[in-house]
Point group: C2
Chain length 287, copies 2
């Protein structure tokens, strides 16, 4: 009576995202009529209109908006339960159940810190095995929510910590990564204003949630590509100090005096009760 089936949530979220019954049904691998009926039953069960069926397309009501957000969260929680249970039971590791933690890290970020953390934790008695899972740009939050990861290194202010517990690990300044022969590379320091609108060096653009912000700079998919474009003198980027670890010879790093500091946190789902995670947190705080 008062608890929704995940099947209903899956169906509704698909329709709410596509705003089109046919496409949603296709995405779900089913025919359109049963989907229509399922949504109608859901509306009747809840006693609430979720969608406004205008003859041309479908729109969310306020209640539908709410169910889209809450339903996504519930679906994430359900898949997280499945994934974490499989992992705890060792269903994904050939050698049977092992004490294992998955740590999501933005690919290439915080090399040195990560190294120290892993070494320190491995030295602990009874340490679990840690799998480092490379994550896309700002994807760590989703990975924690849907159970792909048990913990993550997150970088304020780029990631959002809402909904997670966290422990601050490190704070660092930011640098402008420039082509070595560009005039700006000779400067001792720069400001954000200096680098905001350099005509011949537009700032590179990273995708946020799959879409790119507008701007003149090139669209970046991965860090190697960015490094190459900088080395070729086509673009520049603003990065935390620790990015110096992967700079090329053709790169130059100039400190930005007024950039906000980047704070690296170890974050984990707030309700976690794993012993292995507690150990990792403990060693992290001692770092």
């Amino acid at each position: 009576m008062d608890t929704l089936e995940t099947r209903e949530l899956r169906y509704f979220v698909a329709v709410a995202e596509e705003l089109h019954f046919g496409r949603a049904a296709e995405r779900l691998g089913m025919a359109q009529p049963p989907l229509s009926r399922a949504i109608q039953q859901l509306e009747r069960r809840l006693g609430v209109r979720l969608l406004d069926r205008d003859r041309r397309g479908v729109a969310l009501t306020a209640a539908g908006e709410m169910l889209l957000h809450e339903g996504r969260a519930a679906l994430d929680a359900a898949t997280a339960a499945a994934r974490r249970t499989r992992r705890a039971g060792g269903a994904d590791t050939p050698g049977g159940p092992r004490n294992r933690l998955v740590l999501a890290v933005k690919a290439g970020a915080s090399h040195e810190l990560l190294h120290k953390l892993l070494d320190a934790y491995a030295a602990e008695p009874g340490a679990a095995e840690i799998e480092v899972l490379p994550s896309g740009t700002c994807e760590q939050g989703e990975m924690l929510r849907d159970g792909r990861a048990d913990a993550a290194l997150m970088h304020m202010p780029y990631n959002s910590l809402t909904g997670f517990d966290s422990e601050e690990l490190m704070s660092e300044g930011q640098i402008a990564v420039l082509p070595a022969r560009h005039p700006l590379a000779a400067r001792r320091t720069l400001t954000m204003a200096d680098v905001a609108h350099v005509p011949d060096l537009p700032l590179a653009r990273w995708p946020r949630h799959g879409t790119y912000p507008p701007g003149p700079g090139p669209e970046i998919h991965d860090q190697t590509q960015l490094a190459q474009l900088i080395a070729l003198g086509r673009t520049m980027a603003v990065y935390p100090d620790s990015a110096r670890a992967w700079l090329w010879a053709e790169h130059a790093a100039v400190p930005l005096t007024d950039a906000p500091p980047v704070i690296t946190h170890l974050a984990w789902p707030a309700h976690s009760r794993s012993l292995a995670l507690a150990g990792l947190i403990r060693t992290a705080t001692r770092l």
Copy 2:
């Protein structure tokens, strides 16, 4: 393949809590055999043993432990989705959908603060209607998690804020609430040590998660009962300063110099995106 049905979660949580298929089936209102089969199917789907069936009773494996915790969270998220959607659509309000917020408050706590908050918020333009939902002892967290409430007044260190966003509202000292004619009531101040083991005034015991801590004091169900027992000289209690609001003439309040301060927070689910809630938070921070 990778997302669990809430039916499966309900069944497993029931079995994991009862550690007994028959009782769990009874609680679920079904027969035992289909429940056994459902759990077996779940184990096969996950590829993981969840329960150790010893001939005498049932025990959780590590994976089962994990699924119990994660499954509870997922079930809470699903029922929260249903409740909040119904509320957003006005399924529970006769007059149709109204802009409404449910605020969980420990019954009788923070009267004055609550009053100020409600008044200030009601004065805001476009304020939503606020329903004050009295909550049992330390129950506010569950209410936020399963959607019975949209926000809560929580009192550190009694409530836990993990998993919620929050805003600090007030900090106050604590007092000992004593029978007026007891010798200790004449003191200007007291310490925790003074009140810990008074032979003729054992500290009252509140339930935590439905069970009472051990001790000599009486078991308390509600505040009126406590007030009466104190007035009768049978027990005493430690309360935040603001409890003075409901003291009787036969009560005395003596400040405790070394009690930890009680900090009242406004807390809400971290993923909330409601406009009305944002308004309440804004007025709360300005208080």
